[in-house]
Subunit: 470 residues, 2 copies
């Protein structure tokens, strides 16, 4: 396996080689550092690269494994975290120079769990400031660039996670998803992004954006790697008030390649919404393929889908402004102006507006949950378009010209409201070579069904094997 193949190998492929001492973590980290050196001038995925630290950790992992202390499938695997995951002793900026010197004393729970599993922290990833945007702009640490076309956005807010994973800079990365911030960059960069059920992965030590909507999760290149990451990071944490006390299965048990009889519902509203025809065709082809594998695909009604943008926006803006109010008063002039504007606007949302939005959310959630009494999954596009040009404020979506934020979040926001697990997986490419993505969502805490369908689809296609031109 040459250096570039190591960089594009999944954790699932690397793990047995590491375990059997056929491949050293040192070799793996060196390959990735070289890949980062070659691609980072274009991509700008990292805010903080831990070259020396990751090499030292790789040597330690190598020594431990030589001594027979193999910890499991993530031992020696490179992991990088979105830069709002606190890392003890390593600066954590949340994408803002205001926190350029903020060095947490303690790891967030996710970082601690990766560390305990033997994963090697390669660095901290670039992001939309304070996770407050769906594109991947960041004037403080430089904009993020899409490996499939650097003039295009990565999607956000976890843009560095998207580009690093897609370009073979890192094997496993993490994002946080409040209105789509895992699934959007996963879709636009052509990788797998899993937003787990609300409360399943601890948020302790993560900078909040909107606490009733925030979901941490893995961004990877294969569904198997999503399962391997979830095996490490999912589970109850008393330090997160929203953490759920549920039994955690072995997520790799979902990788059965069997979707016979699985009932998949397509909300018809998803295809009535503004949608690029190329994306529409790819997603319909993907659903046809799942049907040919034995799934039962039906059309369902989700009429309140049309209200989810307004509901989600009101809740997100209100909670974000409440959280950042002190910062705004102290250092508003040092924030990226579009984010400052959004935070200031959010302060004008009344409590009555917010509470009505939460009531609307409850009604929508019941409507969506009832659908899942009759089907096992809800499916549709993750994004209505492929990656837009960097800094485009408005874009063309099929026949509609619309705001970029509204377009990029239209299919992702509903599942932040419901808290359902939702995965984005590659399902094709546009004529211009940009990735297209299928979204599958399931019942709360039923990640196994989501992963099973995503894996079966993935294994029947080659999309995940394509490498970006960079």
């Amino acid at each position: 396996m040459d250096a570039i193949d190591i960089c594009y190998a999944s954790a699932g492929e690397l793990a047995p080689l590491i375990k059997n001492k056929e491949l050293s973590p040192v070799e793996i980290i060196d390959a990735h550092l070289a890949r980062i050196e070659a691609t980072e001038p274009v991509l700008n995925s990292f805010i903080t690269l831990l070259a020396d630290q990751s090499r030292a950790a790789a040597r330690q992992a190598e020594a431990d494994i030589q001594k027979g202390n193999y910890r499991g499938p993530l031992h020696g695997i490179p992991v990088a975290l979105k830069d709002l995951y606190n890392t003890g002793g390593v600066r954590t900026t949340s994408g803002s120079r205001l926190f350029d010197n903020f060095i947490p004393e303690e790891d967030c729970t996710v970082a601690a769990r990766f560390r305990d599993a033997g994963a090697i922290l390669l660095g901290k990833l670039n992001m939309h400031q304070f996770a407050y945007g769906p594109t991947g702009e960041n004037p403080d640490y430089g904009h993020m660039h899409n490996p499939w076309d650097p003039e295009k956005v990565t999607g956000g807010s976890s843009g560095g996670s998207g580009s690093a994973t897609a370009a073979g800079q890192c094997t496993i990365t993490t994002g946080s998803d409040t209105g789509g911030s895992i699934r959007i960059p996963a879709a636009l960069c052509g990788i797998v992004g899993l937003k787990p059920t609300y409360g399943l992965v601890s948020r302790y030590g993560l900078t909040p954006l909107s606490w009733s909507l925030d979901h941490p999760g893995p961004m990877v290149r294969t569904v198997e790697d999503a399962a391997l990451a979830m095996n490490v990071i999912a589970g109850y944490d008393p330090k997160d008030v929203a953490s759920a006390q549920v039994d955690i299965p072995d997520y790799t048990s979902a990788l059965t390649n069997d979707v016979r009889g699985l009932r998949i519902g397509i909300p018809k509203e998803y295809f009535d919404a503004p949608l690029d025809p190329e994306v529409s065709v790819s997603v319909r082809d993907a659903l046809d393929l799942l049907e040919s594998l034995g799934a039962v695909v039906t059309v369902v009604d989700l009429p309140m889908y049309k209200d989810t943008q307004a509901i989600s926006t009101a809740i997100l803006m209100a909670e974000a402004s409440a959280y950042h109010q002190d910062l705004l008063g102290r250092d508003g002039d040092k924030l990226y102006p579009p984010i400052r504007l959004r935070l200031e606007a959010g302060l004008f949302i009344t409590a009555a507006d917010y509470l009505r939005a939460q009531q609307g959310r409850t009604i929508f959630n019941r409507q969506a949950r009832r659908l899942l009494d009759d089907v096992d999954l809800l499916a549709g596009p993750t994004e209505p378009v492929t990656a837009p040009q960097l800094l485009a404020e408005r874009i063309q979506v099929g026949e509609h010209e619309m705001g970029t934020t509204a377009a990029l979040t239209q299919y992702s926001r509903p599942y932040n409201l419901t808290g359902f697990p939702a995965i984005a997986i590659p399902c094709g490419f546009s004529q211009s070579g940009m990735p297209i993505s299928l979204q599958l969502a399931g019942r709360p805490f039923d990640e196994l069904t989501v992963l099973r369908a995503a894996h079966a689809y993935e294994q029947a296609t080659d999309w995940h094997k394509r490498r970006p031109p960079i």
Copy 2:
């Protein structure tokens, strides 16, 4: 037993007589209707009196019991509900003439459970409009008057429940408690009021005031009757989203008369707050008595107590205004002006303010809950004063002159924030003959300990046997 003794008898005393056919429900209802006729011109407890309907129900109950179909301790017992509890076929005004003609089709869950238990609905009780006030003013249906001195308030918002129960107009009544609306009138009228744990009694079919703070519960003359009422109304209801799925004990099992070793903590802040010296002495005497019965009384610290008025006010005003916003726009000029003003003011609370108040609530709740790791109950006065004059906007509390609402809610609001069960029980009388009340609060869903301590205290005293001069 003469008619007046029937009116002042508890359900616990009446039940065996009914069961053994020594006393007919017809006789009981007739006695109460006569008592109401005699006292209602002064008290004004009822908005709707169901004279014919309750007589018919009493005859039915008598016949059923004669036939051997005795349903249990509430069979044939007069019950009256605060007029925001929906009653199928019986108008439910929420204290406002705007709903003078509103006749619900369906019983609320509490009303249905009382009905199924064989209790007889005597009428619907007067209340502060929309439950939005702690005194007992109601220009639409007339102010409520305290049976111990009709120039004094009953306390609110469940004022009619307080006066009806205290004056022997009804055996069991209900209130709803958002900032103290069960415990305040219970305290000022000299009866027992239990605010159960948040989520333990269904709110389905009740007009909300502030849904994260609203608690329905019983208002009675003895602790045993509180237990008997809870046996009927407590328990999971899928129609209330906040309803808790917990096991329901037999609440009468708490009536052991044994408080040996029970640990009672007195937050020192309760006695540092504005407090009438007569009340202070009575409450301290009550705690001394509990100690002499074997309880272990200690002083504890609850420093965030001082923040609970502000936190509770922000949450309550925001939620009340969100709920009543449409009504305010449509019929604002028909609301009682002080309530209209409060609802309008609540619309100016921002979502950021509201969310910060909810965050403050979380921190306070943890502080209070931690105390209950070391003690079994928290104790103190229910009210810092005895009942104020009707319509007094400001009152003297010890050395402080303060707003009536702030004074009357100062000890009750904290347990709306925490959701802890809290009971108000009579613990003495002022020189001028007005009731004084002890408040005991316990761990969530630990009503048994709250009832056990309240019952043991009650049984060691005669306060609950006094009858008001009316």
